[in-house]
């Protein structure tokens, strides 16, 4: 469904992504794991159009989308929950969700999806009229995932959804990700929390300072001694 080949991204003269290639098959969960600064966020931003690439190609559902603008990729089916959640602080939770329906002409459809989000995250329903900036970290994360559910992409990019959450909430978020995937959404998950990510993923890629190095089925990666030592702390 998503195919990234020899991706390169630079910030000024610093090349953050030097050669990254990976595949996300339809219906699966694929995870990118890697240390701080390895280039995980940059890779996701390049896929969703927030960052310009300096080399390589990105294909989505057979169509080349390299360097397409982010707002055009949303209606094609790419939903990106960015690092740090990026909730609009002075918009209410409800308004945050409504905006996620921006490209959807049929507003009844938006309303239906918002109901789904409220059903999925009852906490967000309770907090619907609260300002985004005043939600707790966990609530903001749920809202960020909720927004992606309203945009309704067939591919969901998640950048460290567990960041800053208490262990109970981490469990909950990962359960929700699996549930979203079961309903038919393909997931590309970036995580520091490698153990949890490998646990729910079908395939995994290891990113090291701008290169994809090790890859394979998640079970196999989780058993790889290099990965166990560097990312799983065993």
């Amino acid at each position: 469904m998503l195919s990234v080949k020899n991706l390169k991204v630079s910030y000024g003269c610093i090349e953050a992504i030097k050669d990254v290639s990976f595949e996300v098959p339809s219906g699966k969960i694929v995870t990118l794991i890697g240390a701080n600064g390895a280039g995980k966020t940059t890779t996701l931003r390049a896929v969703s159009g927030l960052e310009k690439t300096t080399g390589g190609t990105v294909f989505f559902q057979g169509k080349e989308i390299t360097n397409m603008e982010a707002h055009r990729l949303v209606p094609l089916g790419i939903s990106h929950v960015p690092e740090g959640r990026r909730i609009f602080p002075t918009l209410t939770a409800r308004e945050n969700l409504e905006l996620a329906g921006w490209t959807i002409k049929d507003k009844k459809q938006v309303a239906r999806r918002m109901e789904e989000v409220f059903f999925f995250f009852p906490r967000i329903k309770e907090r619907a009229s609260q300002l985004g900036g005043t939600l707790s970290g966990g609530e903001q994360q749920m809202l960020a995932v909720g927004r992606a559910m309203v945009t309704g992409g067939s591919l969901l990019l998640l950048d460290e959804p567990s960041m800053g959450l208490a262990p109970v909430l981490v469990e909950e978020i990962f359960e929700k990700i699996v549930e979203i995937n079961r309903k038919g959404t393909t997931v590309l998950l970036v995580e520091q929390n490698a153990a949890e990510a490998l646990d729910i993923a079908d395939f995994a890629y290891v990113l090291e300072v701008g290169y994809t190095t090790i890859s394979g089925p998640a079970k196999q990666i989780a058993a790889d001694p290099r990965v166990r030592e560097a990312y799983l702390g065993v």
Partner: protein
């Protein structure tokens, strides 16, 4: 001389404040969305005044003078200033959007000077001041101790209607929500599928249109127009926006009315003081409360 602060001065101050408010809103909206202090904004107001002048002479023969003509002239003045604002946005500001901010600031000063010199050089306009026609016949009436003209009522009403409209737009409509979102986080807005450039254009158009309305009202109220007429009101409206907290919409309106009143009171006391009071206010704000009156609350920075 009785007290400096009397009903007459308050009415005059509110009238001047209404015009400042319309200009200050454009400053503050554009700043909120692209963090640009658009120094050409006062010149968009000047363009509005000349567009109104031209529209009057084009349509006067068909519509006579009065309400219908005034309405047509208002719409055309708003359209002209909106068009100039959008042109400046597209040609001058957009290419520099994500470059260091100093570049767009200098460019804004360039756009401002360009418009002033262009209008002075155009044979149909020229550098000399000209009188502004009485689009609606002026009438005076007495309320208590104050002499009020129908222009006072028109200025305050037009400004109020436009400001209420803007508030509804920003609070209630999808475009308004998108404008708030873009002013807070452009990348997050893109991920919602929002075309950020379109929202920025809409902001320039609305800000420009408001400046155009102010141009017409100022032309009617202080009936002399010339190509440099935008400089001082532009600076004063900018100070009003800073006083209210730049980027904050209610702040710009509050700041503008304070400026209008302060300037009117100060002028009636001493005309030189009236000229300088705006700058006194600016210095005081920067010293005492640089974020402006409403700048600290998490109100929308658009």
């Amino acid at each position: 001389m009785d007290s400096v602060i009397n009903a007459q001065q308050i009415v005059n101050g509110l009238q001047l404040g209404s015009i400042y408010a319309l200009i200050a809103l454009g400053y503050t909206m554009v700043y909120g969305i692209v963090r640009l202090i658009n120094f050409a904004h006062g010149d968009f107001y000047m363009v509005g005044a000349f567009a109104a002048y031209g529209a009057f002479y084009l349509f006067n023969a068909y519509l006579g003078s009065g309400g219908v003509l005034a309405f047509v002239v208002l719409i055309l003045a708003m359209a002209a200033s909106a068009a100039i604002a959008q042109l400046a946005n597209r040609l001058a500001y957009k290419p520099l959007r994500y470059k260091p901010r100093l570049s767009s600031l200098v460019t804004a000063i360039g756009v401002s000077m360009f418009l002033e010199y262009l209008f002075s050089a155009l044979p149909v306009i020229g550098p000399n001041p000209r009188g502004f026609p009485e689009i609606i016949p002026k009438r005076m009436f007495t309320v208590g101790s104050a002499e009020i003209s129908n222009y006072v009522v028109i200025d305050i009403t037009v400004a109020a209607v436009l400001m209420v409209g803007l508030t509804l737009l920003i609070r209630r409509t999808a475009l308004g929500k998108a404008m708030r979102a873009v002013s807070q986080d452009k990348d997050a807005a893109r991920l919602m599928g929002i075309d950020v450039e379109k929202i920025i254009s809409a902001t320039f158009l609305i800000g420009g249109a408001f400046a155009g309305a102010a141009g017409l009202l100022a032309g009617m109220t202080y009936p002399r127009i010339q190509p440099y007429m935008g400089i001082l009101p532009g600076i004063k409206a900018f100070i009003a926006a800073v006083l209210g907290g730049i980027g904050n919409i209610p702040g710009a309106v509050l700041g503008a009315y304070i400026m209008g009143l302060a300037e009117t009171f100060a002028t009636s006391y001493n005309s030189l003081l009236g000229e300088g009071i705006a700058f006194v206010i600016l210095i005081l704000v920067l010293l005492v409360r640089p974020t402006g009156l409403l700048g600290e609350k998490t109100a929308d920075k658009i």
